[in-house]
Amino acid sequence: MTPFDYHAPKTLRSAMRLVQEFGDDAKVLAGGHSLIPSMKLRLAAPSVVIDLGGVAGLKRVTAGNETITIGALATHYAVESHRLLPSKCSLLPETAAEIGDAQVRNRGTVGGSIAHADPAADWPATMLALDAQIDIAGPDGERAVAASDFFVDLFITDLQPGEVLTGIRIATPPENSGGAYVKMRQSASGFALAGVAAHVTLDDAGNCASVAVGVTGVAPAAYRADAVEDALVGQGIDAVADAAAHATDGVEEFQEDHHASGDYRAHLARVFAQRALSQAIERAA
């Protein structure tokens, strides 16, 4: 066994100190659903593991009238089962329920998934669609990054060495809004072959005042489908089909493997954009 030092800080401050001390040699452990399997397979061998599991205050999920907050260590299940979220922002529990299986959702964390930035993970799509702010603590204090600036490339995020993701903030959607997440599961892993999260707010005429669409599984990193959004703002449900056709505009490189070609993933993204947007608009109405 490649030996590693295990640290279990109790406060964010001591966690930060450890992260800065060990730098690149350290891996931060949240729910452990990507790091631990990699270590067991001996594909990862960090010399230091900093377990955030015992850090106070990172597990909370709150759903206020203004803001929804998800602590970095909140499990998928905590979001799936939150009492207020179905009425405040149903897209969050709907996405959580699509992740892995019950065991994974009970252990895996929202923050871990986002920081890991698997190109086929479910959360990035939804965080993009909800215009989430990612809260980050670092050597120079705290900062927040919009989800659309956070997912950079294959497993690469805006997180810098010495920084730790501490939570996610989402503006509580207004009354006349709705969201939906539609995906096809890769038949083995359950990750998204393609997944589209859509969130819309309607104006008084029933047209889209604002639209946000996040796409995962298709490109090296999850992305906002800006072209779809531009095509739909100010329009109603009749415009969804045409708008959804732009779901992969601007994508230069597609994920592909023996489960699905790039062309097929792109096609799924367009189909699911249409389905997610139609559902979102229905829910908003």
């Binding site: 001996r42 294959l154 497993f155 493997d257």
Partner: protein
Amino acid sequence: MKLTGTHTIGATVERAFELLIDPEVLARCMPGCDKLEHRSDGVYDMAVSAGIGPVRGKYTGSVTLSDIQPPERYTMVVDIKGTTGFVKGEGIVELAPDGENTRITFEGDVQIGGPIAAVGQRMHASAARLMTRQLFGAIDAEARASEDEI
């Protein structure tokens, strides 16, 4: 696995070619390169710490540059292995002028074996493309920086 792609380098074809086959530049620009030392004609010993996401490994082996036809094309063979598996890639790199820049086209075959082959297949293509993107991106940055100096 087939690997193809195109990249742009902000320099003339002649300058881009020089950069691409310069071992010092390659050592700086190749992601995770710990060592690149000339062994014999066109063959370089290499050590890299490479990885995608949490999967990281140290690999040692060689890079061979051959069939060098300045400033148009050359063949590059990468043959490295580590405890997480091995990677063997062979490809042809072609350069062509693209306005003031150089357009690089590469076409090759990559073989991945050992543990990383069996458990990471969905990442193979995108990881390989990410690394080439990083390599040519860094060379482009280097080209543009050296241009600034001039």
